[in-house]
Symmetry: C2
Subunit: 174 residues, 2 copies
DNA sequence: TTGCAGTTTCAAAAAAAAATGAAATGAGAC
DNA sequence: GTCTCATTTCATTTTTTTTTGAAACTGCAA
């Protein structure tokens, strides 16, 4: 209840508020878990949570202050979020800081994730499959046809994935 | 070329063969990367690769010998693969060891992954959202409606995911 | 320019995740 | 039932990932 009308050091930002903190804490946990399921660092999810919830765009310093993380973590986390286009960068004239706001369209978030994370994975997979085909064991006829069948199955998976990816982004409605 | 006709210690298994090794090495890399993209341990992918490629079912000892991993890693990896129903257990009468063969139907692999990994995540997410709704900041009217809008968006995502999951498994063709 | 706030980088530290292997457990051959 | 060997468990070690923060860099305001 301390500073309802007395901002802490910056004019326009609200001070500590226990209901906001509890609410934000849940949101951070929500996104942290989501990030981890996608194989991304927990801190990435937390940074996104803070930007997602904020009514105004935030600068890096705001994020550091809210999450008590280091400069390095914030900088690298924001870099990744930018790469995934999960945040947009805004420039304020007369202020050299970068401000961030969240991309909140699930359709776009998924589209960028597919393009930045899944597609490269499929491409790398495809290289492994090419290498496998070049090294098909010569062994005996029975074994060879077994390996060939397995490889064919993997190639089928990879092709299916490659064809599907561009379509999924379009199918998403929300 | 050493032991083309002289199995190493077990009658029915082929000995070292450099073309098989190179082929399998690529397959292990393929599945290791795939596992990591799904947030699963690399060793899980490698174990699956070995079982997936093997013409015969393998026992744990076979896997340990092929991958040079410890008993504990093999046991825990197989436990997870069983949980995901990515491998099936076979019993051979008169042999107390368990033998494993791979589930190779992508449709089923995806279905089990959705059920065992994604669905619980959505459920947990849903709890966080409930907690958020119970803690909606009371602040001023403008802020409150902003938070409410954000929360509604997350709830919409979660519902979409929950509705989608059972359908995806059916849509998969391969 | 020049100075400096804002940002990035990166070597080192900390934390988290995974692997190890010996001891405990347990299933099934005998 | 007993004994053996396959498997599980789990405290410890190793490896990998993430975080930290100080130094280098950048580009804008003055």
């Amino acid at each position: 209840m301390a500073e309802l009308n007395s901002p802490p050091s910056d004019l326009s930002r609200p001070g500590p508020d226990s209901t906001v903190d509890a609410f934000e804490g849940e949101a951070r946990a929500y996104f942290a878990e989501g990030a981890q399921m996608l194989g991304l660092p927990k801190s990435l999810g937390e940074i996104y949570a803070v930007v997602f919830l904020s009514p105004q765009p935030l600068c890096m310093e705001d994020i550091i202050r809210k999450l008590h993380i280091s400069l390095g973590t914030a900088s690298q986390g924001l870099r990744q979020l930018r790469r995934l286009q999960a945040v947009r960068v805004l420039s304020v004239p007369g202020d050299r800081r970068d401000y961030y706001e969240a991309e909140t369209e699930l359709r776009r978030l998924i589209g960028h994730f597919l393009a930045e994370v899944v597609a490269p994975q499929l491409q790398s997979g495809s290289s492994h499959l090419d290498a496998m085909r070049a090294r098909l064991p010569e062994a005996n006829v029975v074994a060879r046809s077994h390996y060939r069948r397995r490889l064919a199955k993997l190639e089928q998976w990879n092709r299916a994935g490659t064809r599907l990816i561009p379509r999924i982004a379009k199918w998403i409605r929300i």
